[in-house]
């Protein structure tokens, strides 16, 4: 190899790599010092400047911790920015991990609003006194079943528990009338579930509250004895049904709706809503709350108000296939109406007691 000929080019390449790295450090350093000047009305949720940092003090920009992904709520927050003129900074993550983050931050949290995937994480924060009471007018729009009884969080959209089943291997006549029928040995090896998933744990928590610890233990033991296939997520479980790994899966109603939208109507899975107020058709809520440490409570209240507006409720129905929780709003035409589902009588606040559920699920071998 002619090294002499290559030497100058090699040098310039080397300089290039170093320049890029130094540039990146400078960029990182600069955006540290940059003041939080997110312009009002622009799409600030895509702006990486740390407008929500703890030292920033009050500003016009709202900081939202969202346990619902950017895929789901990003467009909605942008609509809110346009409608209200309030810039929003969003941090997306797992609801429980964000709850752990909020607990760690305590009253130093830069967050104004917490938008959680499920009621349990909201309940845990309410218990630690980190949430501020909401406006009674806003609370009045949502059925009392789907909010905190002290008004510290409000449900925004609803998710029904269902039994997703294979339309290739099962007909409607084969389906169980109650979720408790699934402990029958006839279902051995045919059930899929995601026991580490928050929605399933919320369901087990509801089971404990409504039927008692012993009934819940017996049900879990019955399911575990039927050797269920364990999936990491609800989507995996529904895909397991489609792939023929299992015949039925205990999931939320909307995962199938999304897979239908992605795969087309011939996708070989359907949702079964347990009839007659059965525990198996629990409806859980994704909800929002305002942090008591927020210095922008008015803007935060505007966002919560917006999440319960007709626009936002329609968005949830059409884009995420969830149930709108504000009275009078219609669900996706492919779903039974919310008031047609006979839900069990349960206070969703009680779903915060996850610790007991996790212990019970461990003792019965449902989770590690």
């Amino acid at each position: 190899m002619d090294r002499a000929a290559l030497a100058p080019r090699r040098r310039s390449h080397h300089v290039g790599v170093v320049t890029v790295m130094l540039g990146a450090i400078l960029l990182a350093a600069c955006s540290t010092g940059a003041p939080p000047t997110a312009p009002v009305g622009t799409s600030a949720s895509r702006d990486p400047s740390p407008a929500g940092s703890a030292s920033a003090g009050p500003s016009t920009s709202l900081t939202v911790y969202s346990g619902r992904t950017e895929e789901l709520v990003g467009p909605l927050l942008e609509q809110f920015e346009t409608a209200s003129g309030i810039a929003v900074q969003a941090r997306y993550g797992d609801s429980a991990e964000l709850a752990a983050l909020l607990l760690e931050e305590g009253d130093r949290s830069p967050a104004d609003v917490f938008f959680s995937q499920d009621a349990g994480a909201l309940g845990a924060l309410a218990e630690e006194g980190l949430l501020a009471p909401l406006d009674p007018e806003v609370l009045g729009r949502v059925d009392a079943r789907f909010q905190d009884d002290e008004g510290r969080w409000v449900g925004v959209s609803g998710r029904a528990r269902v039994l997703a089943y294979s339309t290739e291997r099962l007909s409607e006549a084969d389906l169980p009338g109650s979720v408790t029928d699934l402990t029958d040995p006839a279902w051995a090896g045919r059930i899929g579930w995601a026991p580490t998933n928050a929605s399933l744990q919320a369901f087990v928590t509801a089971f404990r509250q409504l039927e008692g610890e012993e009934a819940a233990r017996a049900w879990l033991e019955g399911i575990v004895a039927n050797d269920p296939v364990v999936y990491a997520s609800n989507t995996d479980a529904v895909q397991g049904v489609a792939a023929g790994e299992v015949d039925v899966a205990l999931v939320n109603h909307y995962y199938l709706m999304r897979l239908l939208a992605e795969n087309g109507p011939e996708y070989p899975v359907a949702n079964h809503f347990f009839p007659g107020g059965d525990l198996g058709s629990l409806v859980n809520a994704a909800g929002a709350a305002i942090l008591s440490s927020s210095e922008r409570a008015d803007a935060a209240a505007e966002l919560v108000d917006y999440l319960l507006s007709e626009d936002a409720q329609t968005y949830f129905s059409e884009e995420t296939f969830e149930y709108p929780l504000v009275g009078g709003m219609a669900a996706d035409p492919g779903l039974p109406a919310l008031d047609e589902i006979e839900t069990p009588e349960i206070d969703l606040n009680a779903l915060a007691d996850l610790q007991g559920t996790v212990e019970l699920m461990r003792e019965t071998g449902a989770v590690d």
Partner: protein, 536 residues
Amino acid sequence: MALPAVLRRPAVVTSDRRPPVALLAVVAVIGVLAMLPLAYLVIRAAGADERALELIARPRTVELLISSVVLSAGVGLGAMLLGVPLAWLTTRTDLPGRRAWTVLTVAPLAVPSYVLAFALIAGLGPRGALSGALESLGVERLPSIYGLPGALLVLTLATYPYVLLATRATLMRADPALEEAARSLGDSFGTAFRRVTLPLLAPAIGTGALLAALYAISDFGAVSILRFDSFARAIHVQYRSSFDRSGAAALALLLVAAAFALVWAEARVRRRRAALQVPHGARRVARVVPLGRWRWAAVAFCATVVGLALLLPAVTITYWLVRGLGQGEPLQLLAHPIRDSLVAGAAAAAVAIILALPVAFLVVRYPGRLASIAERALYGAYAVPGIALALALVFFSLNVVPFLYQTLALLVLAYAVRFLPQATGTTRAALMLIGPRVPEAARSLGRSPFQVLRSITLPLLRPGLLAGAALVFLSTIKELPLTLLVAPTGFGTLATQVWGAANEGFFARAAAPAAVLMLISLTSVALLLRDGERSA
């Protein structure tokens, strides 16, 4: 193992010298940064109540710990079995398409392990593509990919490039004179490789295998998708389902203890071998080994690894993308996550290299108790579960440097400290090959220490530094827990986009960012490897 006498000479003639205080101070600061997450875990675990202690005392805890150690050791071993042959084939032989294989075999480093897990299930799982093809041939049931086999396969494929890159950097630096001398004295190729080449490579192989093993012990995404009950998975379940940070912290401390046991074991194995120094002298390009009739077997080996680790995820992502576009899914605008990924990755790589240099100098030039403590302390931030590290940073930054909380600077520092062992490993291995005499000669000829560093040591270190930078860059752009919890609010990388979409089952929308992530990684790997070859 009996080493040739020439190799038994201790590497460092200056070990009786005391390290400069400034160097010690710098390394101490870096070590303290890396140990911060452990301090946090101790603080949190101290608050554990009786219920949390009962949780730890269960027999199940021991079972989980054992399965994690088995997984981790298996992945370390697997990474060696793939990484060392691939490094040798792509640097020393007439392998057909050698340059292309070089890039392709390193590139799987860019595939997030959770994407690889999804892809392997799509390809090899029950009713997957392979099973479908075999069904028509009469094969009814494939062995299950779930559990330990799948976790071992995915994590080995995701981590063997650590061994490959470290080994490669050493192979390209090592003077081939010793091997050739052994051959000329009558050793067969195999004997010369075992007695001369392998001992030379041992530090690099050990470093790479340790990185692979520790990656496996703290991985959460792939093991949960593949339904393997590892200890890290149990810790995440604890964090996510009970809002109990104390019990989770106590469990995480146990995991870190297991990780440090692996670090200690690797150090012991390394110490058993004499610390080697290769007379640098006038380095020549190694003779190309003709593979002869083995060349197509070698190509098949490379193709199998690349097929599983790179092609399968690429095909899966393409399938998601095409199917999504067919269903009318719009292509997302990716400019902002691409910029965030590049800025975070490049800055973290640069900071990691800057931090790695003093540590590697201390370890190689002034070996001893202090140096080995400092080097091992770095694994503190590497082996803790990501969420524990993230919460530790929240705790310390809010209490000590609140003005840095949720800033990009803190995030970059966090990445750099997290992935620092990747950079120190390759830097140390490269530094060991230089030996102190060349810089000493330059000093005696009147050069200042800075001039020596700039004109002698750094250029010689370049392949090691660049390999380290590449590792940190690639690790950073696919990192999740730190990015999600510690980044400035609104900051999002390609990896968080993939996570957000795939987590909700929107595989079609996960495809575009995943494809771009893999393209960026391939490009950076190609650029860095080309640079490495030129300078060699």
